[in-house]
């Protein structure tokens, strides 16, 4: 940098851009959720429908993230250690959920697993559908965070363990998994933050039935439509806090990791 006036001008513009885009709207949101004081905030987030939506969001996200941890690691393993025709294509396809618009993800899942399903599976408007949609949109996180670590992992450790008589499960549990755990956790944290806020892929597939398939983001959307902005703002803040706690935990973890592993 160091371009004097240009640099100052640039920083100023950047500050305005970030203020317009992020700071001001987020401040307005926080202010709205707090206008009625803590008692009103508490009342908004403890209404039965809000509680049900928040609980459903957190529980389904936790289940989805656990499935991601297992299958994401297996997929990463196959992509790094295995060799088969078409591997490059499979590797490229992993990012499809990031590239595909979320509403299209919902339509796509309904085409196969909705009404009139050609395989006879109809999960539309159920909690299974929520999990399915979330699994779809969060698929790349664990795969993409484990893959590079697995790639760097020294195979000679595993070979040494094997030559000393360790079985494949022992090698996995004692050598491979401990090295992968930080990457799996960071992938899981990103998946969780994404799952908690997900909206587009859920709109069509869940039917948005209160107390049954209504997740937090959908509840917020409904309250905005009903012009009940205080309730929408209060539950938004809860969702935001859940995602931020996970992000902060992730940052702390990576800091801890670099201190203890390197």
């Amino acid at each position: 940098m160091g371009a004097g006036g240009a640099s100052v001008l640039g920083k100023g513009l950047l500050g305005i851009y970030l203020s317009v885009l992020v700071l001001l709207p987020v401040a307005a949101l926080l202010a709205k959720s707090g206008t009625g004081g803590t008692s009103q905030f508490w009342r908004e987030i403890s209404s039965p429908e809000a509680v049900a939506a928040i609980k459903l969001t957190l529980v389904v996200s936790a289940i989805v993230v656990a499935i991601n941890a297992v299958f994401g690691t297996i997929i990463a393993w196959v992509l790094v250690r295995d060799e088969f025709p078409g591997k490059k294509v499979v590797n490229a396809l992993i990012d499809l959920p990031f590239a595909l618009p979320t509403i299209v993800a919902g339509v796509v899942l309904l085409a196969l697993y909705g009404k009139g399903s050609p395989v006879g599976i109809d999960v539309a408007f159920t909690r299974v559908a929520i999990a399915l949609a979330l699994l779809f949109v969060t698929l790349p996180f664990v795969v993409r965070s484990v893959q590079p670590v697995l790639h760097e992992l020294d195979v000679s450790m595993e070979e040494a363990a094997e030559s000393l008589g360790a079985g494949p499960l022992t090698v996995l549990r004692r050598i491979v998994l401990p090295s992968l755990t930080p990457a799996i956790i960071s992938g899981v944290a990103l998946s969780f933050a994404r799952a908690v806020g997900e909206f587009g892929s859920l709109v069509l597939i869940t039917g948005n039935l209160p107390f049954k398939t209504e997740v937090g983001s959908v509840y917020v959307f409904g309250q905005i439509q009903n012009e009940n902005l205080p309730a929408a703002a209060a539950v938004s803040v809860v969702l935001l806090a859940a995602a931020l706690v996970v992000l902060a935990a992730l940052t702390l973890l990576s800091r801890w990791r670099s201190k203890h592993v390197l």
Binding site: A3, A6, L13, L18, V22, P25, L29, R81, L132, G200
Partner: protein, 300 residues
């Protein structure tokens, strides 16, 4: 991504401890390794097929089930056309903005020295942690009729919410972090040696940026732009709230998909979804070409 370490399982020497004396034991261990490998591969590919491939293939089948004519009719429909061009218009505004400011943020975070740098980093990543719906709500509360700046905007005749400016804002927020996040590691890799040499030789800040820094980070920036574009084109939740969803006016292509699907116009919904899916595939191809490009660059 995996050429060097791949196949290590197959190449790894047989576990000496378990190999029974004689050729038969080695063969049996070989077969066990092979079976395990096929098992894991089947699980991984089966999961991907059921979750990703089969549903995406299904929508292509459903779209072209009744031939090409209904699809072409659906594409030619005025509201579909309007939605498509509106989406492109929003992308054409928000992506360049995010590219310029994304590079600026990356430079500031990687090269700048100031207090609150960690806070700036958090602020840039914040859109990844917020639900699109919450972003939409926050925009309404800031720029809507009853929002913080509502009166001031109305006095000056500026409508943000329920019109294109709000939709651009929403799109820019959700796709804000990509360029900065993809450029920062490349900047770090690039180092400051060449930049310092250039300024020692009398180059101005601008000259150094255009001749040294930008060429060095270009593929990282382009990669970020691809991700930004894909995200901007597909944005649904935030735009859904700030747009008002008026067909033929403030309806983007993803909003069009939802509206048509809910109104039982399956052909219209599937056709628009397939158009968006094809754009997503184009994104994937670009991403892969660029990854190879970046690696070739850093290898030199």
């Amino acid at each position: 991504m995996s050429s060097s370490a791949s196949g290590s399982l197959a190449l790894s020497p047989l576990p000496a401890g378990r190999a029974a004396p004689g050729g038969g034991g080695g063969e049996r261990a070989d077969r066990a390794v092979g079976a395990r490998r096929y098992g894991v591969r089947t699980i991984a590919l089966g999961y991907l097929a059921l979750l990703l491939l089969a549903p995406v293939a299904m929508i292509f089948y459903r779209t072209f089930e009744h031939g090409l004519t209904p699809v072409l009719n659906a594409i030619g429909e005025p509201n579909a056309q309007h939605a498509f061009w509106l989406s492109l218009e929003i992308v054409a505004i928000s992506v360049p903005l995010n590219t310029i400011f994304g590079i600026g943020m990356a430079l500031l975070l990687e090269r700048g020295r100031f207090k609150g740098k960690a806070l700036l980093g958090l602020l840039i990543d914040l859109p990844f942690a917020i639900s699109p719906v919450v972003i939409g709500l926050a925009l309404v509360l800031a720029y809507g009729k009853t929002g913080w700046l509502g009166d001031w905007l109305a006095e000056n005749g500026i409508q943000v919410i329920f019109s294109v400016p709000g939709m651009v804002l929403a799109t820019a927020i959700v796709s804000l972090p990509f360029v900065a996040r993809e450029t920062i590691p490349v900047l770090r890799e690039l180092g400051t040696d060449a930049e310092q040499a250039a300024s020692t030789l009398g180059a101005s800040g601008w000259q150094t940026f255009w001749r040294i820094t930008l060429p060095g980070i270009r593929w990282g920036v382009v990669y970020g732009v691809v991700l930004t574009t894909a995200r901007a084109l597909g944005e649904f939740g935030a735009v859904s709230i700030v747009s008002g969803r008026i067909e033929g006016e403030t309806q983007t292509l993803p909003l069009f998909v939802q509206a048509r699907f809910e109104n039982f116009d399956a052909t219209g919904a599937y056709t628009a979804a397939v158009v968006l899916a094809l754009l997503a595939f184009a994104t994937l191809v670009l991403m892969n070409l660029l990854t190879r490009r970046t690696r070739a660059d850093t290898a030199v």
